[in-house]
């Protein structure tokens, strides 16, 4: 877990310097094309933009890290600082953390549900495919998986909108409703049940759109991992003892076959985050993905850095979770040991 720290510091560094290289003057964006010199200077001083680059970098690192020792002029020459401060959004004029707290749940809901969708479909599909190798069922599932990994997720989204929202008119095409939202804030909802139904309706299309790629990738891995396990000697031994094929699949081969699946789920996380940016755009969902695009378009430096950092942290947390589930499935892997 300690290995995550240099990675996160690296993310902060890359985003800081990349964001700094974005052309254009943030002060102009805030004050219009021709601000007076005093106004501009005041804004620069307020946001620390008058400082040299490396000072701003060190300051930003200090703001971002939960614990930091800031140099001070008098004894004991440093003051400890606690808490995470991502700065203020230049465009929205609110703290970046507030904006992210608003948007992150939406994106997490979308991502978690799409992974759930992917796993629920992919695991049975992969197992059936492996079990009936080279039979028609296997061929169909392989073709589905191949098309799934080759289709742009946003195009699937467009097609789903076209079919289910425009032509059949059964599902909404835009925005997302959080299942824990206040019933009063949701249209035509009086109880928690109503909210859940509305949330489900809104979630369905984006979830399928984002989850299809994951589903296809996991199906392919599940199939090959299962095939590998089924060719192992212990399975043949079990067969020789007359253990039923169902039992072999569910009791013997299933567990070890999930290890490569977990690996791929971890690796798919970055793809899913990128996919979330596109899915949110297609479905006009106000999540982290659209936030970062607007932030880049508005040259909202603190917001760009904040969102990228949070994406990186989401990924790192995902990888740690993957490691933990590795240890859970395979007792030989002890968590905290070698990578």
């Amino acid at each position: 877990m300690l290995q995550a720290i240099p990675v996160i510091v690296g993310i902060v560094t890359i985003t800081f310097f990349l964001t700094d290289a974005i052309p254009g003057d943030p002060v102009q964006i805030m004050l219009g094309p021709s601000p007076s010199a005093e106004q501009a200077a005041a804004i620069r001083a307020k946001y620390g933009l008058d400082q040299p680059l490396w000072i701003r970098y060190i300051n930003y690192l200090g703001d971002v890290s939960p614990v930091w020792i800031a140099p001070a002029a008098s004894f004991p020459f440093f003051t400890p600082e606690f808490g995470v401060d991502l700065g203020r959004s230049l465009y929205y004029q609110v703290p970046v953390t507030q904006k992210i707290a608003e948007r992150l749940p939406v994106t997490l809901l979308l991502m978690v549900s799409s992974f759930a969708f992917a796993l629920v479909i992919a695991i049975p599909l992969g197992i059936i495919s492996a079990q009936r190798r080279n039979e028609p069922t296997d061929h169909v599932s392989r073709v589905v998986a191949l098309i799934g990994v080759s289709t742009p997720s946003f195009w699937i989204g467009l097609m789903l909108i076209m079919i289910f929202a425009f032509h059949l008119d059964v599902l909404p095409a835009t925005s997302l409703v959080l299942p824990w939202a206040d019933p009063a804030s949701v249209d035509a909802a009086t109880s928690r049940i109503d909210v859940l139904v509305v949330a489900g309706e809104h979630l369905l299309l984006p979830m399928v759109s984002l989850g299809t790629l994951q589903m296809a990738a996991i199906t392919r891995i599940e199939r090959s991992a299962m095939l590998e396990q089924l060719s192992e000697e212990y399975v043949q031994l079990a067969r020789a003892y007359g253990v039923r094929e169902r039992t072999i699949l569910s009791k013997h081969a299933f567990r070890p076959a999930q290890l490569p699946v977990i690996t791929i789920v971890g690796l798919q996380l970055t793809t899913a985050i990128g996919g979330a940016v596109l899915t949110e755009t297609v479905f006009s969902i106000n999540g982290m993905g659209r936030l970062i695009i607007t932030a880049i378009n508005n040259q909202d430096y603190p917001l760009v850095m904040g969102t990228t950092l949070v994406f990186g942290v989401v990924f790192v947390v995902g990888v740690i979770l993957t490691d933990i589930s590795y240890a859970y499935i395979d007792p030989r892997v002890s968590y905290g040991g070698d990578r």
């Binding site: 290995q3 240099p6 990675v7 990349l18 080759s150 742009p152 195009w155 596109l278 880049i296 790192v316």
Partner: protein, 331 residues
């Protein structure tokens, strides 16, 4: 690991000190390439992929030769020139044989027209060029960068390995699309930076893959022999370690081209790819969003074009994987 006598020849011909290195690799790599080719010859998956890629490449090449060739070849009415002044009226004709509010589809525009009355088929045609260019160039950037980092990191080990791998992990932890978008926002919104951005963002995949192979290859006897013979480290990496670790990287590169095409389509969809009026598939999909109701075909065709192309690379990648090494782990 199969290894022929070519290396041994190189070792007897000790040329350290003369400054010229022994040319020992030619035979081996040719044999390797030939083996691969003959192995995929019997594999329907790889062949299907190769066929699709050939068709798409041919289309891309024809579209690249010159705009004029197409103009003369297909007569002006058939393809509305993609660079011509767009018509201001909305004419969203359906494909040939179908009918919508704007009229009947005709052979003049076999796949219909877009929101500016431009021929969709012609724009798809030109879009091929961009997709293939982006796919190949960005993958080559990722491949070269990743090979460099991965081989150095794997061969030297120690702190070099630690530093490089932490850097690679950091790059990997920033979501691909976000990294490329931030990169393009910083340096410029055009196709060149899209290619460089996607290339840099794909370095971690190649570096990690190659490193994992190099770590085992560097322990092979022929590497130890070369080292004992005093062959320069750079030369050992370049001529012995990398070629013998390259099979999974080649498979990954094939798949990566498909992935790059998908990602650049996504970038163009968000407005970060090729800028109008240059047609690209992702941009066409973005433009079609407001016209999906009157003419759904405007959104259907570019998606199918992407799907077709990427399926080609995935099929070839799968076929190559089976041919080169059945036990390569899937990443």
């Amino acid at each position: 690991m199969a290894h022929d006598s070519a290396t041994d020849d190189g070792l007897t011909e000790d040329s350290v000190g003369t400054g010229t290195e022994p040319d020992v690799r030619g035979v081996e790599s040719r044999v390797g390439a030939w083996n691969t080719l003959s192995q995929i010859r019997g594999d329907p998956t790889a062949l299907a992929g190769l066929a699709i890629i050939s068709v798409v490449t041919l289309v891309a090449l024809i579209a690249s030769v010159d705009y004029y060739l197409l103009d003369y070849w297909l007569a002006e009415t058939f393809w509305v020139h993609p660079a011509r002044d767009p018509q201001e009226v909305e004419i969203l004709l359906p494909p040939v044989g179908l009918e919508n509010d704007f009229g009947q589809g005709t052979w003049e525009h076999p796949l219909g027209t877009d929101h500016r009355g431009r021929d969709i088929a012609a724009r798809l045609f030109y879009g091929t060029r961009i997709a293939m260019l982006v796919g190949f160039v960005s993958t080559v950037i990722g491949l070269v960068g990743g090979t460099l980092v991965g081989s150095v990191s794997g061969y030297y080990g120690g702190w070099v390995d630690d530093v490089l791998m932490r850097a690679v992990e950091t790059l990997y932890a920033i979501p691909f699309l976000v990294l490329v978008i931030a990169f393009m926002a910083a340096f410029g919104r055009n196709l060149t930076y899209a290619m460089i951005g996607v290339g840099i963002a794909s370095i971690p995949t190649f570096a990690r893959l190659l490193r994992s192979r190099v770590v085992s290859v560097r322990e092979e006897e022929y590497v130890a022999a070369a080292r004992a013979a005093g062959v320069r480290t750079r030369w050992i990496i370049l001529r012995h370690v990398v070629p013998n670790s390259f099979a999974p990287v080649l498979v990954q590169a094939t798949l990566q081209i498909g992935l790059a095409i998908l990602i650049v389509a996504g970038l163009s969809f968000l407005g970060f790819g090729a800028q109008p009026p240059t047609p690209s598939w992702g941009q066409m999909l973005n433009q079609s969003r407001d016209s999906m109701l009157p003419n759904p075909w405007f959104s259907i065709w570019p998606g199918l074009a992407i799907l077709f192309t990427v399926v080609g690379f995935n099929l070839l990648g799968d076929g190559l994987r089976d041919a080169l090494d059945p036990h390569i782990e899937e990443e």
